[in-house]
Amino acid sequence: MGFSWDYLLQGFSIALTWQNLFWALVGSLIGTLVGVLPGIGPSSGIAILLPLTTFLPPTSAIIMMAAIYYGAMYGGSTTAIVVNIPGEASSVPTALDGYEMAKQGNAGPALAIAAISSFLAGTLSLFGLTFFAPICAGFALAFGPPEYFALMLMGLSLVISLSGRALLKGVISMALGLLAALIGQNPLTGAARLTFGSLDLMAGINFISVIVGVFAISEVMLNIEAEAGAISLAGIKNLMPTWADIKRCTGAMLRSTGVGFFLGLLPGCAPSVTTFVAYDLEKRISKDPDRFGKGAIEGVAAPEGANNATSTAGFVPLFSFGLPTAPSMAVLLGGLMMYGLQPGPMLFKNNPQFVWAVIASMYIGNVMLLVLNLPLVGLWARIAVVPFPVLAPIIIFCSVLGTYSIRFILFDVWVMLVFGLIGYFMRKLGFPIAPLVLASVLAQMLETSLQQALLISQGSPLIFFTRPISLAFMILSAISILWGLWVQLKKKDRVVVEETDE
């Protein structure tokens, strides 16, 4: 199984039908909106809308969800540049130079270069996705339950060691996610556990409720606490960057695409991490690094490129292994499972039209976003001015509607509100949220593959260490935990990446 032009062309023929084009456009618009508005990020945006799309056929629904995801990557930079409020955590480095440029009256070129860099990096990484994903899927065909278990274990340990805060808190966060997912029926035997005789708990805790709670609700609570008010806005003039600007940024765009794409293949390297890495790299190799932080246009191009490259790269492990690398990928995974599509190598084998249609739609979506973003950027910036007192109740309303529509039981809504409180306290106390979210989504597959592997080995855990691929994953997870420990012991006060919904 490898790349084939037939499949890609077939994918384009499906993605170019008018319904799918329409849903890609709707997704791009909603995504940009989600990206522009502070207080709601791609994970909660997709999670809230997911249950509302059940009237769509799976391909259109996933095309729209993916468009929301990469659309948010375009939108996040707008407010970062214009008003110094990053819409997403990944846009924090963009604000450093972008806002300086805006203060000097160059908001237009900054916004334009952000869109161009996003487009270039998004499209180049799509080539990467197109060629890498089938190869990885072919490789993953040889995986059995032990390999899958080891792979997911590696994913979780990478997320913990990279989440940038105390390692132990990451472990506890993951354990909380697993605990929530364990409630209900055993996926293999159907035996009830941790249900305390309650019928509601028997149905299990839906991870969409968990995600919407810890992201959307806790974010709203934090913003209400800070009394986020309205944003004032300066006019945007002379939109286009000069050719000299573009020439100056070409290197930064290409380098950040490489950095963003290859780091983005790893679990835990969410855009909020890789954008900092790309920004730092440009600063290091620049001839005069002093310009950075004072309105250097490369300082806008690099993080925006890395942002889009990383978000596209995340689809490689998602489609080929079924392994989400970031919370928003976990939500997309949940969406695929809701439609009965199990991501992983069999997806490429059994549903090639679906996978290739989604990939093809991403090429189209990137063009749409470039077209939408260049002329309409002033409009998007104005939408960010919606005052938070109006936005907060609407976000909570959407969260209630979204979680209720998963299974139409009120219990899911209560779970969402409880996890909102949990998420709020976790953020306050410095617990990373990504391990909890990934664990709650992966738990079922993790447990199933563990049980199946132990059935094969007749109860011996040695099976994870005697098969070469599984052994490699086990060693990698051990290394990532040890590396995280080492970093933590060596540098007591390292820079912490502010974690929000990425």
Partner: protein, 123 residues
């Protein structure tokens, strides 16, 4: 099918991880006199704002079944916007009415989501 993984194992592992990890963190914090995590709790005003908005959401969910989703969501939106921004009475009312109407026609009728329409009006 013989079970190789006893049903208690995973919940126990997870529970022990959380408890021992929490105990370790508590011990560390106690030894450092609580200076390990600089905590910033909301002031009184912020605490009240958060509580009221969350309680409003709880009431919204509680009355959803008896008075129906469109009406409860409209009231929730109108109240919360007015509460967070006292000068925005009209914005709140208009947003509330739009939300209720959208809930009924778009989510209920067009998207055919089976939202509660109110047991006290429709038996």
């Amino acid at each position: 099918m013989e079970e190789r993984l006893p049903p208690r194992t995973l919940p126990y592992i997870v529970g022990v991880t959380i408890l021992s990890g929490g105990a370790f963190l508590a011990l560390k914090s106690w030894r450092l006199g609580g200076k390990d995590v600089p905590l910033k709790w909301p002031d009184r005003g912020a605490m009240i704002r958060i509580t009221v908005i969350l309680l409003a959401a709880v009431v919204f969910v509680l009355v959803m079944t008896p008075i129906g989703f469109p009406l409860s969501s409209g009231l929730y939106i109108a109240f919360s916007i007015w509460y967070l921004k006292r000068s925005a009475v009209w914005t709140g009312l208009i947003c509330g009415i739009i939300t209720g109407v959208l809930s009924y026609y778009v989510f209920g009728q067009l998207l055919e989501l089976s939202l509660p329409i109110g047991t006290i009006f429709f038996e």
